[in-house]
Symmetry: C2
Subunit: 149 residues, 2 copies
């Protein structure tokens, strides 16, 4: 049985989220997993998320980055506390700051791959760095500060 995504382990209360909510039929259905010490997310844009001319809307890209990074912060906190992912009590984090630098145009025809790592973890604040790839190209770099709610 494949491993469950971080987002699919959280309590019902958070499952309406536009980014990843399993109970929101319009959600982007973002799924994040451990890959060694990094986390990884593969996401295929739908046609409705283009900016025009087959190019991915960069706001939607920020949404995917935000979700993957905040969920990375949550998963890393579970790991640091030696707790099984999704076990109660849930550890909520929210996006504090997001900074995205676009390097190359991303087209919606291909899936994108996000690879994130923990840069710093303090008591309430976790800094996550993230790279976004389309094919072999690194198309965006981001840094997210997630805050323990």
């Amino acid at each position: 049985m494949p491993e469950k995504a971080f987002q699919d382990l959280w309590p019902e209360l958070f499952t309406q989220c536009f980014r990843c909510g399993r109970n929101n039929e319009h959600s982007l259905q973002i799924k994040s997993f451990w890959d060694g010490d990094d986390t990884i997310c593969t996401w295929k844009p739908k046609k409705i998320y283009e900016a025009g001319m087959g190019i991915l809307c960069v706001g939607i890209l920020s949404t995917v980055i935000d979700c993957h990074c905040v969920n990375t912060a949550i998963a890393a906190r579970y790991k640091a506390e030696g707790r099984e992912l999704g076990s109660i009590l849930f550890i909520p984090y929210v996006g504090g700051t997001i900074n995205v630098k676009h390097i190359k145009t991303i087209f919606i025809k291909d899936p994108i791959v996000l690879r994130a790592k923990i840069k710093e973890m303090k008591d309430r604040k976790t800094i996550i760095s993230c790279s976004v790839f389309s094919g072999k190209n690194e198309c965006a770099k981001a840094e997210v500060i997630a805050i323990k709610a």
Copy 2:
């Protein structure tokens, strides 16, 4: 007759955009206007754009900010060139960098108001600062670097 939004003056080629496209039925329908030397955008989130518990998904907020700021850069360039908004040739800009700092939780029950201003305009690069309000509260601050395509 009310003034047209910046986004509704651009060529057909860009009207599929998820952010503002008048020809994309799933788009956020973001509308930006001049308000003196600033630009203003009022946007009411739909229920599907929540993160949970009535809170606005911060990724969608980035999408609205990106659209309003990039369109501000385009409108400002038309103004600087003394040209009527939407006159051909169109002046395309894209988001280069976006940096959003979240200050207060935003709830989807109320419209948000974005107020942006041009901080710096160079040949190809325009820096826009933006504040997001819900009611009387400033809930987020952002800086966007838009690049002339």
